[in-house]
C-alpha cells in the first residue's frame, strides 16, 4: 500500500493582488484565498498514484483555522485524511519555523503510518521562497528531488521510484530510494474534476486540528515569531527607471541633435565609454 503525504498551503490569489505603495506590503484585504496551485498539482499526482497502487493520501498544513477550507478542497481532490496544525503561537513563522513545525508533524504522522513519498509544491505563490520543502527534508534527513515534473514509476516492492526533474536546460531522469520527498511543478499532474462522492465527503469533512497542546510536542523556542530569525529589513516595489531625455530631430535638426547628445554625454562623463563602444 502506498502512503503519500502532501503538504499544502492556502495563499492569496496573487493574480489579482496589489502592493501598498506606502508600506510595500501585499494588500490582502478582499483578495480571495486559494489553494496554492503547485500544491494542488502535487496533490493530484499523489492521488493519481494512490489510485494506481492502492493506499492513502494524507494532507497536512500549518496555518490559521481559515485553512480548513483548503483542506476540505484537498479531500474533494481525493485526499483521504487531512491535518491542520494550528496555534496562535505559530503565527509569524518564517520558513525555518514553518519547516520545523511541519517536519515534527510529519515525523509523528510517519510513526502512525509510515510514509512512502512526501509531496510539496515547488513553492508557494505568495512568498515564492521554495525553502519549506527542502527545510523539512533536511530536518527529516530525507532525500529530496526538487522541480519534479513527472513520476515515471513507483515500485513499492523494490522501494524505489523513477522521477523526472526539470532543470533550466534539460530534464533529468532520477532513480530515488523510498521514502523520498518531491517538490513539484505544475506538469506533475493535471487536476481532475472531482467525482460527486468526493465533493460530498469534503463538504462534511472536518480535518483533525493539532495545536501546541499536542499530540506533537513542539519546542516553544522554535515556533512562530520566536523561532523565526528572519528579519524583513524593508519591502518595496522596484522603482521604474526614469525614461531618458529625448531630443527631437524634427525640431532641432539631426546635426544639432547629435551635437547636443554628445555634449550631454561628455558632461555626464560617459563620452569615452560611448565612443569606445562604437569602435
Amino acid at each position: 500500500m502506498f502512503h503519500a503525504l502532501v503538504a499544502v498551503k492556502q495563499v492569496p490569489d496573487t493574480t489579482n493582488i496589489r502592493i501598498d505603495p506606502e508600506t510595500g506590503n501585499l494588500v490582502r484585504e478582499g483578495v480571495p484565498a486559494i489553494f496554492n496551485p503547485y500544491d494542488a498539482h502535487a496533490l493530484a499526482a499523489a492521488v493519481e498514484w494512490k489510485r494506481k497502487l492502492g493506499g492513502k493520501v494524507t494532507v497536512v498544513s500549518m496555518g490559521p483555522p481559515s485553512f480548513i477550507v483548503t483542506l476540505r478542497e484537498a479531500i474533494e481532490m481525493g485526499a483521504d485524511e487531512a491535518y491542520l496544525v494550528s496555534d496562535r503561537k505559530f503565527a509569524g513563522a518564517d520558513t525555518l519555523a514553518t519547516s520545523y513545525v511541519l517536519a515534527e508533524t510529519i515525523r509523528r504522522l510517519n510513526e502512525q503510518d509510515p510514509v512512502d513519498m512526501i509531496f510539496f509544491g515547488k513553492q508557494a505563490i505568495d512568498g515564492d521562497t521554495a525553502q519549506v520543502g527542502p527545510g523539512v527534508a533536511t530536518r527529516l534527513d530525507l532525500p529530496i528531488l526538487t522541480y519534479a515534473v513527472k513520476i515515471r514509476d513507483i515500485d513499492l516492492e523494490a522501494r524505489k521510484a523513477i522521477v523526472e526533474r526539470k532543470t533550466e536546460r534539460w530534464v533529468e531522469v532520477v532513480e530515488l530510494p523510498l521514502p523520498v520527498m518531491l517538490t513539484c511543478d505544475k506538469e506533475i499532474a493535471e487536476i481532475p474534476f472531482a467525482p460527486l462522492p468526493d465533493l460530498i465527503r469534503s463538504l462534511k469533512y472536518d480535518p483533525e486540528v493539532w495545536t501546541m497542546a499536542g499530540p506533537v510536542e513542539f519546542d516553544r523556542g522554535q515556533v512562530g515569531v520566536r523561532g523565526s530569525p528572519t528579519i524583513v529589513y524593508k519591502m518595496g516595489t522596484p522603482e521604474l527607471p526614469e525614461p531618458g531625455e529625448k531630443i527631437n530631430t524634427r525640431e532641432v535638426g539631426v546635426e544639432a541633435a547629435v551635437r547636443e547628445a554628445l555634449a550631454k554625454a561628455e558632461s555626464a562623463g560617459v563620452l569615452s565609454a560611448v565612443l569606445g563602444g562604437a569602435k
Binding site: 474534476f193 472531482a194 467525482p195 460527486l196 462522492p197 465533493l199 460530498i200 465527503r201 463538504l203
Partner: protein, 443 residues
C-alpha cells in the same frame, strides 16, 4: 462512501438563488434531507440584479431574518420615478416618508446579490440543507413512467436520487426545456438585458448628492425618458452604502435590431446631464449584466410534472413594471417546498399530487399579478411614446408651469396643451392612456 452506493436525498433543489435557497430553507426546517445544488463557486457568484429586495417575502420564508444579519446596503426610504428629458432636464416623482416610513420594517432593502445570495444559502444550510457548490445539474433521472426520480450532474459518479426536484435554475432554463415544460429558449423579444455599473463613492458624497441624511436612508428609482436612446428601456439608480448602482434594462431584440452595444447605451445614459453629476469622481467597481425574463404569464412554462416543480426566473416569474421578481421567486420557492413536504406525507410525487403547487401560486399574488400584467411585456415596445414623448412633455410642461414668462396663464396653459397635442394628437394621447390602463389592469 463506496463507489456503487447511490447518493439519495428527500429532495433536490437546483440553484441557490432567491427561489432555490428559499425552498431549501423551508424543506430543511421541515426536517427533510435536502440537497441544494449550485453551479457557482459559491451561491451568488452567478447572480446579479439592480436592485432592492422586498422584506415581505424574506419575512414569509424566514420570519427572523433580520436577527440573522442579512448583508443589506441601505433600506429604501425614497422611491419613485425620474423622468429624463432630451434637453437635459430631470423631473422627479418620488415618495419619502409617508407610507414608506410607517412600517417598522422597511418595505425593501438595497442589496448586492453576490453577498446576499451567499448569506441566503447559508440560512438554508443552517436550516439543515446540504449545499453542493461547483456542480451543474445537466439532466434528470427518470423511472419507467417518465417521472423524475433524481438528477444527473456534470461530475463523475454524479447522480443524485430524490423523489422530488425543485428547479430554480434561473432565466436560462435549459432543464425546464429538457423536461418539455418550457418549449424553447426565452425569446429575445421577451427578455431584457439589464446592465449596470457599481460606482464607488464616499458615503458622505452619496448622502449629499442624493439628499440622504445618513446610510440608514437609501434611494431606489426607476428612470424613464431619455435613458436608452428613445428605445424601450428603463433605467434605475440605487444607493448602496459606499457605492451607487446605475444601469438600465433594454429588450434583447431591440439591442440586436439596432446593433447596440450595451456598454455604449450605458455610457450615454451615464453622460446625461442629470446623471453625470451623480456619478462624477466615482471609481468603477463592477460592470455586469443579467438577462431578465419579462415574458411573464405568456412565457410561463408548465409549472410541474411528475417529480418536479419550477420556480423563479426559470418560470418567468417577473413583473417588470414593478421591479418584482425576487419576491415572487422566494415565495414560489417556499410554495414549491410546502408542496414537496405534503407530497412526502402522502408518499405521492405524481404530477397530480404536485398540482397543488399551481393552486398555491394561484391563491397568492404571483399568478394573479402575472396574469393581470400579461400584456404589459410588449406594451412599451408597441407604445414607444411612453419612453420618449411623454417624459419630454412632462419635463417641459413642468418647467413652463413654474416659470414666470410675464404672460397670461391662460396663454401659457394653451401653449402647454398645444405642445402636447403637437407632440401627440389628443385622441392618440387619450388612446395611449387607455391602452396603458388596459395593459396594467389586464383587460
Amino acid at each position: 462512501m463506496s463507489d456503487n452506493e447511490q447518493i439519495r436525498f428527500d429532495a433536490v433543489v437546483v440553484g441557490a438563488g432567491m427561489a432555490g435557497s428559499a425552498a431549501a430553507i423551508v424543506l430543511g426546517k421541515a426536517g427533510l434531507n435536502v440537497a441544494l445544488i449550485e453551479r457557482g463557486q459559491k451561491a451568488g457568484s452567478k447572480n446579479y440584479f439592480g436592485g432592492a429586495l422586498y422584506t415581505h417575502a424574506l419575512k414569509e420564508v424566514l420570519p427572523d431574518f433580520m436577527d440573522r444579519k442579512p448583508p443589506f446596503e441601505r433600506p429604501v426610504t425614497e422611491a419613485g420615478f425620474w423622468f429624463l428629458s432630451r434637453d437635459g432636464g430631470l423631473m422627479k416623482a418620488t415618495i419619502e416618508g409617508g407610507k414608506l416610513a410607517e412600517t417598522e420594517l422597511p418595505d425593501a432593502y438595497i442589496t448586492m446579490r453576490a453577498a446576499f445570495d451567499a448569506w441566503w444559502a447559508k440560512q438554508a444550510q443552517e436550516a439543515g440543507a446540504f449545499l453542493i457548490p461547483k456542480t451543474t445539474v445537466v439532466d434528470f433521472i427518470r423511472d419507467e413512467q417518465g417521472q423524475v426520480i433524481g438528477v444527473q450532474t456534470d461530475r463523475p459518479q454524479g447522480d443524485i436520487y430524490a423523489p422530488v426536484v425543485i428547479i430554480c435554475e434561473g432565466v436560462n432554463n435549459l432543464l425546464t426545456q429538457k423536461l418539455g415544460l418550457a418549449r424553447r429558449d426565452v425569446e429575445p423579444a421577451h427578455a431584457a438585458l439589464a446592465f449596470k455599473q457599481v460606482i464607488s463613492l464616499p458615503m458622505e458624497t452619496i448622502n449629499a448628492r442624493f439628499g440622504l441624511p445618513d446610510d440608514a436612508h437609501g434611494l431606489a428609482v426607476s428612470v424613464l425618458g431619455d435613458v436608452s436612446l428613445g428605445l424601450p428601456g428603463m433605467g434605475f439608480v440605487y444607493t448602496n452604502k459606499k457605492s451607487i448602482s446605475v444601469g438600465l434594462g433594454v429588450m434583447l431584440d431591440t439591442l440586436a435590431e439596432y446593433r447596440l452595444r450595451p456598454y455604449d447605451v450605458l455610457q450615454r445614459y451615464l453622460q446625461h446631464p442629470a446623471i453625470a453629476p451623480l456619478v462624477e469622481g466615482g471609481q468603477l467597481l463592477e460592470y455586469g449584466a443579467h438577462l431578465i425574463p419579462e415574458g411573464g404569464w405568456r412565457d410561463m412554462p408548465q409549472l410541474y410534472a411528475g417529480g418536479v416543480m419550477v420556480a423563479g426566473d426559470a418560470a418567468a416569474m417577473v413583473n417588470a413594471l414593478h421591479w418584482e421578481g425576487t419576491n415572487m421567486a422566494m415565495i414560489a420557492g417556499k410554495l414549491a417546498a410546502e408542496t414537496a413536504i405534503e407530497a412526502h406525507k402522502r408518499g405521492d410525487f405524481s404530477a397530480a399530487s404536485l398540482a397543488r403547487y399551481r393552486d398555491k401560486l394561484q391563491d397568492r399574488f404571483i399568478l394573479q399579478d402575472l396574469k393581470q400584467y400579461r400584456n404589459f411585456a410588449r406594451f412599451l415596445e408597441t407604445h414607444p411614446q411612453f419612453m420618449d414623448v411623454y417624459p419630454n412633455f412632462l419635463n417641459s410642461a413642468l418647467a413652463d408651469f413654474f416659470s414666470a414668462y410675464g404672460k397670461p396663464k391662460k396663454v401659457l396653459f394653451r401653449e402647454i396643451f398645444g405642445e402636447l397635442t403637437h407632440r401627440r394628437p389628443l385622441l392618440k394621447a387619450v388612446g395611449d392612456m387607455i391602452s396603458m390602463g388596459k395593459a396594467v389592469m389586464g383587460w
